[in-house]
């Protein structure tokens, strides 16, 4: 062809539209997921050149083997206290999820989102990071707040949007924020936190600070523009930032193939930018800890950012607004080949002889009681829509630092309306 039309006898083009492994009613088949043996993945130096560690973007870093033993170079060798904290925080997160999910069903609030099955992807990184490091979570990292010791009752206040809510009832439930705990305000817009985290990390570097940033998004969210902006800025300025992609296989009803998973891993995105990338068994809390620790050390020593793909599974619905049985086989969760993070850590600890079933049952009860107490306490401040909300004028505060005339007028209007509606 020389730029002239020279139609060859080719078959017509056709559009490829990805299809997930299973739909409702289908048998589940995860045989395409390659689960390498734990302990077999090499652990490069923290100052390795990304070019020399590309394989780790296609491999799967695993520490806990089938018997629950911690094996291989990535074993972070946590002590008993650390393991106990890790286990308990995961259990507490799960108990919290269970109860608040029910609270939503009972009409105490408008919305809730669980992280069941994915607890390791927030609890373990929170532990591997310094408490002064800044985290930019998505909406499924309640585990970080719990790990950092945020009072449960504050979380419930936020979820109930009640008069105790530190966020003044302004945010959708679970969109937490805690400056004190270096936990950035969660956005309802996917992936916007990604370039913000890079900016924060760049600022830390500009100031010669030692704090690094870590940011989370789902695999579905990697398609957003902000993801690319963050990766580009991260690699250009060598920003001290950890990019966590929680690949829980689903984005509401869309399986990971709609984010590109049919073609390569999400960790491989790192290779595209010449960045360090790790693909980690997200249901192995020790592997997640080790990967975070590695990436944090890299960032702290001016070796730049790391992308960590946490390969995991969203064991329940996307949120209380979702019914996953409408689009995926309900057996997927139980068939998931990487197991459950709490079960796996428990087995590990029992194997070490520092834990047993009784203590586990007792812990489960304890965390359930703790959550229950927190919800009771929070309910005193009100539940959504039952009157105990913040004063009307708070609606106009914090739009700007100071109230301009037009918001002052509107605030007066709102208060006048309240008096008309409820003259008492």
């Amino acid at each position: 062809m020389t730029g002239e039309s020279a139609k060859t006898n080719l078959p017509p083009l056709s559009l490829h539209v990805p299809e997930p492994r299973s739909r409702p009613g289908d048998p589940v088949d995860f045989s395409d997921i390659i689960v390498p043996n734990a302990g077999k993945q090499p652990r490069p130096d923290e100052n390795a050149d990304p070019k020399d560690m590309m394989d780790l973007s296609y491999d799967l870093v695993r520490v806990l083997d089938e018997k629950g033993a911690a094996v291989g170079p990535w074993d972070p060798k946590l002590n008993e206290k650390q393991l106990l904290k890790m286990l308990r925080d995961m259990a507490l997160t799960r108990a919290f999820d269970e109860r608040l999910y029910r609270a939503q069903r009972q009409g105490k609030t408008s919305f809730y989102m669980k992280c069941r099955g994915e607890e390791a992807t927030s609890i373990a990184p929170a532990m591997a990071l310094d408490s002064e490091d800044m985290v930019f979570p998505s909406y499924r990292q309640q585990g970080i707040l719990i790990s950092r010791g945020y009072p449960l009752v504050e979380m419930v206040n936020q979820i109930y949007s009640n008069k105790g809510d530190k966020l003044k009832g302004r945010q959708l439930p679970i969109m937490y924020c805690s400056r004190r705990l270096n936990f950035f305000t969660i956005s309802g817009n996917l992936a916007t936190q990604y370039p913000q985290a890079v900016g924060w990390a760049m600022a830390s570097a500009i100031k010669g600070d030692s704090r690094i940033a870590a940011v989370w998004c789902g695999e579905g969210s990697t398609a957003e523009s902000d993801f690319h902006a963050a990766m580009t800025f991260g690699t250009v300025y060598n920003a001290p930032c950890i990019f966590n992609v929680v690949n829980n296989q689903w984005a509401i009803s869309s399986f990971s193939g709609f984010a590109g998973a049919e073609r390569t891993t999400f960790a491989a995105r790192a290779i595209g930018y010449g960045m360090a990338g790790l693909r980690v068994d997200g249901n192995d809390p020790l592997a997640v800890y080790a990967a975070t620790q590695w990436a944090a050390q890299r960032a702290r020593t001016n070796q730049g950012p790391t992308l960590i793909e946490h390969f995991t599974y969203r064991a329940e619905g996307h949120s209380t607004s979702d019914d996953p049985s409408a689009y995926r086989s309900s057996d997927e969760a139980t068939e998931w080949p990487l197991g459950d993070p709490i079960e796996r850590l428990k087995t590990h600890m029992i194997g070490l002889g520092i834990w047993d079933e009784e203590r586990h049952a007792a812990m489960d009860e304890e965390v359930a009681t703790e959550v229950k107490a927190a919800t009771k306490e929070a309910e005193k401040n009100g539940i959504l829509g039952h009157g105990l909300h913040q004063p009307f004028e708070t609606m106009f505060e914090d739009v700007f630092e100071e109230l301009p005339w037009h918001l002052r007028e509107q605030s007066e209007q709102a208060i006048r309306e309240r008096e008309i509606k409820w003259p008492e």
Partner: protein, 337 residues
């Protein structure tokens, strides 16, 4: 003739258009197998195949950008943006590209796309599931903006939008998907099945863009509204026994200026209602137009009743919403003016 709620009417419009025109394709987050988070596309992938109705990556930039390219090819794409609050990453493709393709190519390439998106509050969706961004699009030359207020209109307008050769923003007031909400959030909403405008033909029909609907004739004042607020305004008027003329604009651009002028010339008074934030909302444009064109007919200041200039708060949703009290106050003021 069937009884349909607004989602069903939209689904029916899409179904008709996919049937009539092979070039109509649909794309968006969760719209394929699942049928959309509000079920607007339910059943359509099964019926028309997954190369005509398909899920997309979570990239509003890509959704609009790809739709523009498909439009240039000759298709008639109907992308969905899951919530209007998430349209901003696709803003550049809408403003710089879809809106200007015909102009900059002197008609050689066009972007006959219809962007469907649920908008507005009232479902406790918080800051990011409640916004009404329509006025921004009305500022962009080359875009049309359409907002229905009933199932019947939704279907007819959506068909006309899809058939339109210009890019159309089709905002669906999600608060009234199920029934004509009148602003009394503590009372149950009458379902569309009990409402005349819930009578929707199964077959193809169109309501031309650019034509307002006078939903109530009256002499005392003119109410300009669209979407959910048409019903809220109607409720208050009924309650207060005012003989108002209520105009449902249906299309913001191009606007039915004639209907507006005729009405104001008759009534001499004007109330504008929208849920979007006040400053530089579409109410400002309406107010300016009415003032410019009917100045000597005006007997009282034109009033705007709108959402407040704050993000849409979660718990104080009903304090934010421009409901009956706010509208009532404005009506009083105009009638006394």
């Amino acid at each position: 003739m069937a009884r349909m709620n607004m989602i069903q009417a939209i689904n029916s419009a899409l179904d008709n258009m996919m049937e009539r025109d092979d070039n109509v394709v649909m794309m968006g987050e969760d719209i394929g197998y699942f049928g959309g988070v509000f079920r607007a596309t339910a059943g359509l992938q099964e019926k028309y195949g997954k190369t005509r109705v398909f899920d997309t990556p979570i990239s509003e930039c890509g959704i609009i950008g790809a739709a523009v390219g498909m439009g240039a090819y000759g298709l008639r794409p109907v992308p969905e943006i899951q919530f209007a609050d998430y349209i901003y990453p696709g803003m550049d493709q809408l403003i710089s590209e879809a809106a200007r393709l015909r102009y900059r190519s002197a008609g050689e390439f066009t972007a006959p796309i219809t962007v469907r998106s649920p908008f507005g509050g009232g479902i406790f969706g918080g800051q990011t599931h409640s916004q009404s961004p329509e006025s921004m699009f009305t500022h962009v030359s080359g875009l049309k903006t359409v907002i229905p207020s009933t199932p019947y209109d939704a279907k007819g307008l959506l068909i006309a939008s899809i058939e339109d050769n210009d890019p159309v923003l089709f905002f669906e007031p999600k608060r009234i998907y199920n029934g004509p909400f009148d602003g009394y959030y503590d009372k149950p909403v009458q379902p569309w099945s009990k409402h005349d405008a819930g009578e929707v033909p199964d077959d193809y029909y169109r309501i031309d863009l650019g034509k307002a609907n006078i939903v109530r004739e009256g002499d005392d004042l003119t109410v300009l509204a669209y979407g959910t607020m048409v019903h809220v305004a109607l409720g208050v008027i009924k309650e207060q026994g005012i003989d108002a003329e209520v105009i449902d604009l249906r299309t913001l651009v191009p606007l039915d200026i004639e209907a507006i002028e005729q009405s104001i010339e008759k009534t001499g008074r004007c109330l504008i209602v929208h849920e979007a934030t006040r400053t530089s909302g579409f109410g400002a444009e309406l107010s300016a137009l009415v003032q410019e064109r009917c100045f000597y007919h005006l007997e009282a200041p034109i009033e705007r009743v709108t959402g407040f200039d704050t993000p849409y708060p979660h718990s104080l949703e009903w304090a934010y919403f421009p409901g009956p009290v706010r509208i009532g106050e404005a009506l009083d003021k105009i009638m006394k003016g």
